[in-house]
Amino acid sequence: MAHVKIEGLNKFYGSKHVVKDVNLEVAQGEFLTLLGPSGCGKSTTLRMVAGFETIDAGKVYLHGKDISGVPANRRGIGMVFQSYALFPNMSALDNVAFGLRMQKAAAGTIREKSVKMLAEVGLEQVMEQFPYQLSGGQQQRVALARALVREPEVLLLDEPLSALDAKIRIQLRELIKDIQQRHKITTIYVTHDQEEALSISDRIAVMDKGKVVQLGAPDEIYARPANRFVATFVGTLNQLTGQIVDGARGVLDVAGQKLTVPTLAGKSGQVAVGVRPEKIRVLLNGAAAEAGEVALQGTLKSAALLGTIVRVTAEVGGAEVKVDVLNNSRLPGLTPGAQLSLGISQENLMVLE
C-alpha cells in the first residue's frame, strides 16, 4: 500500500484552476519530487498534503487513511519552508525542541533528542545561537532538524534551497539526501531546479499548468521525456527543425544537411528533433560517423568552461547546437570559426511533438 496517496486533487483560486486532478502515490521511504516552473501548482499541491490549503476536490491518504479533513497539526507531517520559518525568539536548540515539547515529552528526552538531531545536521557548535546569528544555510539545517526530530510520517520540503547561494545549495541537497536515506523517511520535495530534482529524487513528477505531465525515475524523465515541455524543462536540449524529405526512411533535411532518423519513418512535413548536449560527439581529425550515427557539419562558435564540463557551442545551419564534453578531454584546435563535425547516435535523437 502506498504510504501517501493523492487522489484527484484540485484547487481553485477564485476562477483560476491551479491544481488539476493530481494523482500520485508515494511509497514508504521514497523520495518524490514535484518539479515545475513557478505557478505550475507544485507548492499548492504540497500545501494541500500538509493541510495548509483547503482541498477543493480530491483526497489525501496516509497509510490508506483519509486525512483530507485532519488539521495540519495532527497529520504527522514535518515541513521545511523556503524562508526557513525558524522561530526568531528561540535558540536553535529551542526551535528543534519545540515539536517535542508539543508532544509533552520529558524534559531530559527533549534535550537529548534535540541535541542529537542538531549534531546530525552538523550544528552542535551553534545550538545556543538565535536564528539571526546563523547563516542561511545553518538556519535551513536547523529547520530540517526541527522537522525531523519528531520522526514525522512524511517529510515535506517546499523549495528549501531556493534562497541559498549556489555552493551551499549543493552541500545542503547532499545532506538532505543523506539524512533522508539514513532515516528512510517518506519525502515529498518541491523545486523548480531540474538539476536538484534529478540528483536527489527516487521519482520525479513534472508539473505544468496544474497537471502532472510525467512521472518517473530521473533517468527516465531525462532520457524519455513525455512531451516537448518536459524535454526542454528538464535538462538542456538542442532542437533541430527541418523538413522530412524521405518519409519512407525518415530522412530529415536540416538546413541542407540530411539526417536519417528511423523513428521519423512514416511522417511528413516540418518536424523537430531534440538531442541532449552530452549525447553529441565531436568527430576529431576527420573521423567519420559510426554506424547508427548521423553526422552534422558546423562551425565552432565558442567553448566555455563550466567546471566539470566544457560547453562547446557550434552553429549548424543558422541554429546553435550545444555539445557538452568532460573537462578532461583534449579537443585540439578549438578556435572560434573552425569547422566541426558532430556525430549523434540515431537512438539519441528524440522526436518532439
Binding site: A50, G51, F52, P71, A72, N73, R74, I77, G78, M79, F81, S83, A85, L86, F87, P88, N89, M90, S91, D94, F98, G99, M102, Q103, F130, P131, Y132, A143, R146, A147, R150, L156
Partner: protein
C-alpha cells in the same frame, strides 16, 4: 566625496526641524522656572514656586490618577480586543485586509468634536446611558487609538511573517491557540509594546473628547491643564513639564513591565524586528 554638499544641506534641515520642535519645549521649561522675566532674553531670576504649587494641589494629583486610569484601561482593553482581531484578519481573512485598513483610517475622519457629537446623541439616553461617565471616554478613546493599535500589530505580524511561523508551529504539532500564544505573541511583543505606548500617549494627551463627553464630571489632566492656562502661564508651564515627565516615566514603566514578562528570547526577537518595528509604531 561628492556627497558632502548634500550632507551639509541635510544637516541644516535637521537642525531647523530640531529647533522648530525643540524651541517651544525649551521656552516652556524656562517659563516654568522663571521668576521675573520681562524684557530680557533669559529670565532674570529662577524659582520652583510653580512646581511646589502644582504638586501640593490635590486636584492635580486626582486628575493625574484619572488620566492614568482611563489611558491604562484604553491600552489594556485595546490590546486585548485588537490583537486577536488583527491576527485573525491577517491570518485567515486576507481579502478583508483592505477593508480593515480603511476602517482603521476612519478615526482620522472622525476628529474629537465630530465623534463627540455622534456619541453624545447615542449615549445620552437609550439602553446604555453612559454619557458623562468614565466608560464613554474609554470607549471613545479605543475608537481614536484604533489605527495605532491595528497598524502597529498588523505591521509586526507582517514583519515576522506570522503566517509561515504559524504553519511551521502547526506542522510541529501545535494547535492554533498554542501556536498563537507560544510563537506569534512572543515575536510581536515589540510591536505590542509600541502600540501600547502610543495608545497611552495619545489617550493621555486627549482633550476634546474629555472636555465634551465628560467635562467636569471626570476631570483629566488635560482639562486641569487647560484651566490652569487661563489662570497662570507659569503654572501651566510647570504642568506641561510634569506631563513630559509622566509620559517619559510611564513609557519606561510599560517597557519594563512588558520586557519583564518576556522570555530570554525576546531580545532576539526585538533585535530581528527592530527595523520594521520603528515603522510600526512611528505611524
Amino acid at each position: 566625496m561628492n556627497k558632502r554638499p548634500s550632507a551639509s544641506g541635510a544637516t541644516i534641515i535637521l537642525i531647523l526641524i530640531n529647533l522648530y520642535l525643540g524651541v517651544p519645549i525649551l521656552a516652556t521649561f524656562l517659563f516654568s522656572i522663571a521668576g521675573r522675566w520681562d524684557s530680557t532674553v533669559l529670565p532674570e531670576s529662577y524659582t520652583f514656586h510653580w512646581y511646589v504649587q502644582m504638586i501640593t494641589d490635590p486636584g492635580v494629583l486626582a486628575a493625574i490618577g484619572r488620566s492614568f486610569l482611563v489611558s491604562g484601561a484604553t491600552v489594556v482593553l485595546g490590546l486585548l480586543v485588537v490583537t486577536p482581531a488583527a491576527f485573525i484578519t491577517y491570518q485567515f481573512l486576507p481579502a478583508l485586509k483592505g477593508t480593515m485598513r480603511f476602517l482603521a483610517l476612519l478615526p482620522y475622519a472622525l476628529p474629537g468634536v465630530i465623534l463627540a457629537v455622534g456619541l453624545i446623541q447615542l449615549y445620552s439616553s437609550g439602553p446604555l446611558p453612559i454619557a458623562g461617565t468614565f466608560w464613554i471616554l474609554l470607549f471613545s478613546y479605543i475608537i481614536v487609538t484604533l489605527p495605532f493599535m491595528y497598524n502597529a500589530i498588523t505591521n509586526s505580524l507582517q514583519a515576522i511573517d506570522a503566517k509561515t511561523l504559524m504553519e511551521a508551529a502547526e506542522s510541529l504539532g501545535a494547535n492554533r491557540m498554542a501556536a498563537f500564544v507560544q510563537v506569534v505573541v512572543p515575536n510581536i511583543r515589540p510591536g505590542l509594546i509600541s502600540a501600547g505606548l502610543l495608545t497611552f500617549a495619545v489617550s493621555l494627551g486627549e482633550f476634546v473628547l474629555a472636555n465634551m463627553l465628560v467635562g467636569g464630571r471626570f476631570q483629566t489632566l488635560q482639562l486641569v491643564l487647560e484651566k490652569a492656562m487661563h489662570i497662570d502661564g507659569h503654572l501651566s508651564s510647570a504642568m506641561v513639564m510634569l506631563y513630559f515627565v509622566l509620559v517619559a516615566f510611564s513609557s519606561l514603566m510599560l517597557i519594563a513591565v512588558a520586557q519583564g514578562g518576556g522570555q530570554r528570547g525576546s531580545r532576539a526577537a526585538g533585535r530581528a524586528q527592530a527595523g520594521s518595528q520603528m515603522t510600526g509604531y512611528a505611524q
